[in-house]
Subunit: 203 residues, 2 copies
């Protein structure tokens, strides 16, 4: 029998890079860009955003860099304040801020869209992963449509697995109506119908 | 029995913040400070360093901030090029660069000193943790002295545990000589002598 291992004398704490950068965002010290979203302003650091998103990189350091000195002002359109706040939080810390249930359900789809817009693959997966928790009989059709429109293959797979239950599938198609499905969610009708057809008649 | 769990449809990759910041260091884009170490220059981002080390924060944004605009030049004394390179790598990525055995043994004590100098507690613990691998009959006395001088309590504990073996302890005291120990490492003599005295005579 090997001798019992004595406990290590040095314990290295987990990485604190995200905490240090989160502090930088919270204080706004040294910020060199200001974003305006729905009338609210956010101070940030151009190099953090550029390192995190190739789209921000081009936007902030592209053709019109000018002097690297002045604080740049940028307007963000078509985004809600709380979504942009969460996006910044993610960029500095690699995690989403705490969200309550209803808030999360409202924000996560917006953040998936933002992740695609700013080419932040991991953020999209973080959101997709959380959205999977909200797949149920009431949401699955809308989720499936959303997943198809926003390149969320994992979320789509989750929805299709949910519909693998023939009883649930039948209930949902009856509740939504094939007519409505084909009008509101034409892109997913093929998937749903394929499953429906494959369902044993006596189930 | 609960039904078997199907595998998750969305797998979130590990945090990539350190990789993105590492890329920023590698390209030097947007750098606003240049360090000169033994004639070699390093471009960096002041706010990364300030977020990571309170000493750098004061040095770079203290009384003489001046315009926040110009690229600042800073000379670093009493530090080797490869040590400063490793320090920067750590600041951007929370990890040390790859080091070969001999290189690590030479650099880790320097990096402990740098971590204390720049008040980077976690870096000191990362180095201390690695230094523990180098504690053996040849190194233990020097390590113990080093640990005492640089507030490395975990490394000190590791050395003292090593000396818990009465045979090893006796061999080392005989090899080093009490005279030499008292001259070269007066600070640790107390610890070693205390252990020596406590050792059973017939061991």
């Amino acid at each position: 029998m090997p001798p019992p291992q004595s406990p290590p004398t040095v314990v290295v704490p987990p990485s604190d890079l995200h905490r240090h950068l989160g502090g930088l965002l919270a204080t706004g010290e040294g910020a060199d860009v200001t974003f305006e979203v729905e009338g609210k302003t956010f101070a940030a650091h151009r190099w953090v955003l550029a390192a995190r998103s190739p789209v921000f990189r081009v936007a902030l350091f592209g053709a019109t860099t000018g002097g690297a000195d002045d604080v740049v002002r940028v307007n963000i359109d078509a985004m809600k304040v709380q979504d942009f706040e969460a996006l910044l939080h993610y960029m500095y810390t690699d995690s989403l801020p705490e969200m309550k249930g209803g808030e999360a359900a409202a924000m996560l789809p917006d953040l998936v869209a933002a992740a695609n817009r700013y080419k932040m693959e991991r953020l999209r997966l973080v959101c997709e992963h959380k959205l999977c928790e909200y797949v149920n009989g009431r949401t699955v059709v809308a989720m499936l449509a959303f997943a198809g429109e926003h390149q969320c293959n994992g979320l789509k797979e989750k929805c299709l697995r949910f519909l693998d239950d023939p009883v649930k599938l039948r209930e949902i198609v009856q509740a939504e109506g094939v007519e409505n499905l084909s009008k509101s969610y034409p892109s997913i009708l093929k998937d749903v119908i394929a499953k429906f057809v494959a369902t044993p008649v006596d189930s």
